[in-house]
């Protein structure tokens, strides 16, 4: 069902692009893909858009009160076995026999004790919209689509922090945006921001909505009309430059679309944050995101060549695409990490790379976490880290084990048994201490194999044993489904979350030990009745340090205010991180959740500098989400 001419035109463009992709990019670089004409569309419901994931009405395909696609979730079937529904993931449609025992064993959860979510969103529970009439009138005349439907507004009032999702499941809504607008291109954004300034309306940019820093929460004290600026319809690759290996992309595109579309032309950005299915390019820039394969491709700050951002003062961008410049402080660094407080990122020129010829997963078992960290440190020292290398601690290893799908053949299960026997009995690894590193190699076949050998040789020096491709691959697959698992937990009194930090190498072991212990102690002190899950993994290596992820969950039966307890424990854990030389955040950002530590983190002068930039760029606080400062 096609809407109008511009839609038809765009679809034609996409077809062209896909064909170009099939032809593996023989088309002349500069003219490979033509810039689409940007023309505002009518405000009627958007049509199905081929190859694009995110519709305007996100609730049509995504959960309004949980993670991800509506059709994909964990549940316990009638036999009491866990299964993952849908067709989208490798795990979809499979039975996971170990999950029930793991949940009961780890959390003391019980399938009889359910805490189901409120099934439907009741619009009457949502605050009525405060509309700025004059703004609305002028907006209408631009033809940019907008909505003040309760569902649309609630969907954009939150990220995925535990307290946000918990409240949604209980059907509780705080301050939500008063309306949602869907600009279609850079110029639409310019118009919206101009109008917002003119009528003093608060604008909160919204990309993928995967924030875990309370960044999307509307400040409850905000009295102006709040407009959520949803960038999801600005999702085109405007051009690909094969001579310089860059692509110019609209900032609303989500990670999976960007990669898929580039892949069709034989390229990739290689930027794969765990949230890449839903998070957007603009969001990556605004939070200083990091991708799993940063060892080859770099983090967002290494990937970005040019940024266009619309601010209340006008548009900020650089005048050329030189690969490096000495022109005073890099203005990109005012934009990256600004978390929507300065303006809306509309277009980004990014580095692209030819798609890797060969990919190989791998895994190594270490007798204990200490040895594993020592190995990662050595790998970093020799600068031979594969595209991705992650080290899970023992609890997480067990968790990964619990998520093994039912194996179809006796042979596989026999092999698994044999492996376990070899590692624990023959090699003498203690099943309660061993830990696993998962690896991903990329490049040409020859180099990958060579590289693989180098890494396994180092691992062997630290007592590591190669544990097969399958374990590695499953480790990465779990990255995408783990967020779904939280929803399952929440059905059964289990709440949890992950948070991250970066820390110098000499502190890695100390921080892991101390933060995990602090979580356990705080849970005990706060009256949590069951032992919590407190686990960590090292997910990135750098020359001088590593990124560490903590996972923390507990069974809250018997607590009157579980979210408050959760927040207290997370707060204490963050204090512990900081006291152990960890950073406030490696890539999640500060938002409002971690604001209180900003001053200690960047010093008074640092805060003053950031503040003066904000004061200049946005004197009327149009971008009033109050993140960061």
């Amino acid at each position: 069902m096609l809407g109008n001419t511009s839609d038809r035109q765009r679809i034609a463009q996409q077809r062209l692009r896909i064909i170009a992709g099939h032809l593996q990019g023989p088309v002349d670089g500069d003219s490979a893909i033509l810039a689409a004409e940007c023309k505002a569309q009518g405000s009627k419901t958007d049509v199905c858009r081929e190859g694009k994931t995110v519709p305007r009405r996100r609730q049509e395909i995504m959960k309004w009160n949980g993670w991800g696609y509506s059709d994909s979730k964990f549940l316990f079937n009638k036999k009491g076995q866990a299964e993952f529904t849908g067709k989208r993931y490798r795990l979809s449609g499979m039975i996971i026999p170990g999950l029930k025992d793991w949940m009961e064993g780890t959390f003391g959860a019980n399938l009889q004790h359910k805490t189901p979510a409120t099934p439907l969103l009741t619009s009457s529970a949502v605050q009525p919209a405060t509309l700025n009439k004059a703004f609305l009138e002028e907006l209408k005349s631009t033809g940019i689509p907008f909505s003040h439907d309760a569902e649309d507004r609630v969907f954009r009032a939150h990220g995925h922090c535990l307290h946000e999702i918990f409240a949604l499941r209980e059907g509780k809504f705080g301050r939500v945006p008063d309306m949602v607008v869907w600009p279609n291109c850079h110029n639409d954004v310019v118009k919206i921001v101009e109008l917002a300034c003119k009528h003093n309306v608060c604008v909160i940019p919204y990309g993928g909505g995967t924030s875990v820093s309370s960044a999307l929460e509307c400040p409850p004290e905000e009295t102006r009309s709040i407009v959520s600026l949803d960038t999801s319809q600005m999702n085109r690759i405007l051009w690909i430059d094969e001579k310089n290996l860059t692509a110019h992309v609209e900032a609303g595109i989500v990670g999976q679309d960007l990669e898929r579309l580039l892949n069709e032309s034989g390229y990739c950005t290689g930027h794969e944050p765990d949230s890449m299915e839903f998070s957007s390019l603009g969001g990556w820039v605004a939070t200083r995101a990091s991708g799993m394969k940063k060892n080859i491709y770099g983090n967002i700050e290494d990937l970005v060549i040019h940024i266009r951002m619309v601010t209340p003062r006008g548009v900020i961008e650089k005048s050329c695409q030189g690969p490096r410049m000495s022109t005073g402080p890099d203005i990109h660094h005012f934009i990256m990490g600004s978390e929507g407080t300065l303006g809306v990122v509309t277009e980004v020129t990014m580095k692209i790379r030819p798609m890797p010829e060969y990919q190989k997963y791998g895994s190594v078992v270490f007798p204990n976490f200490e040895q594993g960290v020592a190995c990662l440190r050595e790998v970093a020292k020799q600068r031979c880290a594969p595209a991705s290398i992650r080290l899970m601690d023992n609890e997480q290893f067990k968790f990964g084990h619990a998520l093994k799908p039912q194996v179809s053949s006796i042979f596989t299960s026999f092999l698994d048994g044999l492996k376990t026997f070899y590692i624990t009995k023959f090699k003498g690894f203690d099943p309660n201490r061993l830990c696993v590193a998962t690896l991903l190699f990329e490049g040409d076949r020859e180099k990958v194999l060579q590289h693989e050998k180098q890494v396994y040789d180092i691992a062997a020096k630290f007592g590591g044993l190669a544990a097969g491709e399958d374990n590695g691959q499953r480790g990465y697959m779990l990255t995408f489904v783990i967020a779904y698992l939280r929803d399952l937990g929440m059905d059964y009194y289990v709440i949890g979350e992950s948070f991250e930090t970066s820390v110098p190498w000499d502190r890695v072991l100390d921080i892991c030990r101390n933060v995990k212990a602090r979580i356990i102690q705080e849970c005990k002190d706060k009256g949590v009745q069951f032992p919590p899950l407190s686990t960590c993994r090292v997910t990135q290596t750098y020359d001088t340090g590593a990124c560490v992820y903590f996972y923390f969950a507990f069974n809250y039966r018997g607590l009157s205010d579980p979210v408050h307890v959760y927040e207290q424990v997370e707060h204490a854990a963050r204090e512990e991180i900081l006291a152990n030389g960890g950073s406030l955040s490696h890539h999640h950002g500060v938002g409002k959740l971690r604001k209180e530590w900003m001053r200690d983190t960047v010093s008074n002068v640092g805060v003053g500098m950031l503040k003066s930039v904000k004061d200049y760029v946005d004197p009327d606080n149009i971008f009033g989400n109050r993140n960061l400062l």
Partner: protein, 622 residues
């Protein structure tokens, strides 16, 4: 002064345990004791010494060999750094410095051997049974300790009144199947042939008494202690007071080792450290007469094996019972909560030694005082402590009156009962077996036996008085703050709260070298003293004034006279600061001094330090 204010601030600081001390001195719950010698008297010592000993270690760790420990220390980043630094500064080859470090470590390190421990277990059983009637230990404390060892690295902080302490500690831990501690001991023991090595094999490591400027020594030493502690190889034991207290008063804590053991927590190398104060109370101290002589200027005999052998005559005497109380483990983490910003270690590599920041120094200092007070609080007071106090006061009155009457038994009994109730009211930990047995012993300070010269007569008299005084001192901590307040009320020109506080504050400041008074806690101490006196009905506090009640007169008089000897000591010091102690002896003759105690070198030393600190005296180096 708002009485509630400091309590509220304490509460706000999360300092609950401390505030509950302030609020409920009478409700302190303490464990029961169990006599561990009883079993020894009923079963074979040899079997006991040879029994299976399998203590549980921190996190189920396997024990670490002494040689492995040494190589861990020598390979540590910290030591490497310091060796490099020393070699650059002195121009010596790094290997050479490394050798030296290795030699220092060799001299220092313990080499705990179970066989030696078993030998001690056997001999000490024999010795203890002869010397003591009972050795009472609180078993709940032992269980807490066992738990604490499994959770976090443990530091044991026993009080130090006798050479016996450290052997006794290891003996107890061996008996209860708890990991044997490694003990910081003074180098003096090393001088003892054979015995020094025996001690080393039972877990002692030896440190020089002073090594102020020696970077390398400090580095080896601190790394050695930290390596043992943070890996949880063994509980680390040392004496916070640094040396044996000759007066039975707790000594001002020494901070060096405490700084070292807290460091791994502050730098995040361990999650937490449990510090366990241990209070060892002797009914009669082995060294009692020795101490008194020492304080009168008779030099301390050098530690030697032959000396030890000669001292075997003590075996024929009765030293009563010992009470050992293992206190509540104190978590360093909770002590530091809200006091130390651990981020201060973020910007310099942790292995580079640095002077502790002021924040940390004051934290360690305050912690040290808290821990010493925790030791004091759990000291068991025997009836003799009360009697000694009464007899001394009586003796002083006699002295003033120029009489030598002593005390009538009934009167002493009556007073003792009164005092017992008062001790209890103030929250003291009394061991009171029943009146009859109590009064079978001494009644008045004995007369010197044969007198040759007046000086000698005075000396032997003084020995007796000082010994008595040291028993009285055991109970001083119970009354210290109320006594300071009582003296302050006496000294102040009016009853106005502010006046009394000023005079309290002056006295407290003056006596801070003498007693365990944490610097900067004047207001808390004042409130605590007021609280205790009000609670026991001795004092009325109004908006403006402090009034001693009718029934409080006796209490206040008693409290004041507790402090009197010290006050006079300081007064004498003030007038005679240029003189040496021999002059003091002469001064005693005409009976101008009521208190023979003034002769104590300890009192003189403390008062001189106080006067120096207060700027009343200046040190001029000739």
């Amino acid at each position: 002064f708002n009485l509630l204010l400091p309590i509220i601030t304490l509460l706000r600081r999360g300092d609950l345990s401390c505030s509950s001390v302030v609020l409920n001195p009478m409700l302190k719950k303490r464990d029961d004791f169990e006599d561990m010698l009883e079993e020894r008297r009923n079963s074979s010592d040899l079997r006991y010494a040879l029994r299976c000993y399998t203590p549980v270690l921190y996190k189920g760790l396997a024990p670490c060999k002494a040689s492995m420990l040494k190589s861990m220390v020598l390979q540590s980043d910290q030591l490497h750094h310091v060796i490099g630094q020393v070699s650059r500064e002195t121009g010596r080859a790094a290997d050479d410095v490394q050798e030296e470090a290795s030699a220092i470590l060799e001299e220092m390190a313990h080499c705990l051997q179970l066989s030696t421990v078993r030998f001690f277990a056997f001999t000490l059983s024999k010795v203890f049974k002869t010397l003591f009637r009972s050795i009472c230990v609180n078993e709940e404390g032992i269980q807490r300790l066992q738990q604490a060892i499994q959770e976090h690295p443990v530091v044991l902080l026993p009080s130090h009144r006798s050479y016996m302490d450290f052997l006794l500690m290891s003996y107890i831990l061996y008996t209860y199947d708890i990991a044997l501690p490694v003990i910081a001991a003074g180098m003096d023991f090393m001088g003892m042939k054979f015995v020094g090595e025996m001690l080393r094999m039972s877990g002692a490591f030896f440190i020089r008494r002073s090594f102020g400027g020696d970077k390398l020594y400090w580095s080896v030493f601190s790394e050695y202690v930290k390596t043992m502690l943070k890996n949880g190889f063994a509980p680390v034991e040392f004496f916070l007071e640094g040396t044996r207290s000759r007066t039975s008063k707790s000594l001002t804590p020494k901070l060096g080792l405490l700084n070292i053991v807290m460091d791994p927590y502050l730098k995040g190398e361990v999650y937490d450290i449990n510090v366990v104060p241990v209070s060892i109370s002797y009914e009669r101290i082995l060294e009692e007469a020795l101490y008194a002589r020492e304080m009168l200027g008779v030099p301390k005999p050098k530690e030697s094996t032959s000396g030890l052998f000669k001292a075997r005559k003590v075996l024929s005497e009765d030293y009563g019972s010992i009470h050992v109380y293992f206190g509540q483990p104190v978590s360093v983490r909770s002590l530091a909560q809200g006091r130390v910003n651990r981020c201060q270690f973020n910007l310099v590599p942790r292995h580079i030694p640095r002077r502790p920041s002021e924040e940390i120094q004051s934290f360690v200092n305050d912690s040290a005082y808290r821990l010493v007070r925790a030791q004091e609080e759990n000291m068991v007071l025997k009836p003799w402590v009360l009697l000694a106090s009464l007899l001394l006061q009586n003796h002083h009155q006699d002295q003033t009156a120029g009489q030598k009457r002593g005390m009538v038994l009934e009167e002493l009994t009556a007073q003792a009962v009164w005092l017992r109730d008062m001790f209890r009211e103030y929250g003291a930990f009394l061991h009171w077996p029943g009146m009859n047995t109590v009064l079978s012993g001494q009644v008045k300070p004995g007369e010197p036996h044969s007198t040759v010269t007046p000086e000698e007569e005075l000396l032997s008299q003084a020995v007796i008085v000082l010994s008595c005084a040291s028993y009285r001192n055991q109970g001083l901590h119970v009354f210290l703050r109320p006594a300071l307040l009582a003296s302050a009320i006496n000294a102040a020109s009016s009853n106005l709260k502010q006046e009394v506080f000023n005079s309290f504050s002056f006295l407290r400041n003056m006596f801070s070298n003498e007693f365990i008074l944490c610097p900067g806690a004047t207001v808390q101490d004042f409130e605590e003293a007021c609280y205790l006196l009000v609670k026991t009905g001795a004092l009325q506090v109004t908006q403006q004034e402090l009034l001693v009640t009718e029934r409080g007169q006796r209490t206040v008089a008693f409290l004041t006279s507790m402090l009197d000897p010290f006050l006079q000591g300081y007064q004498v010091r003030e007038t005679l600061y240029k003189m040496f102690s021999p002059c003091l002896v002469r001064l005693c003759f005409p009976g101008r001094l009521r208190y023979t105690e003034v002769l104590s070198s300890d009192l003189q030393k403390n008062s001189l330090a106080a006067l120096l600190r207060l700027g009343a005296v200046q040190k001029i180096k000739a």
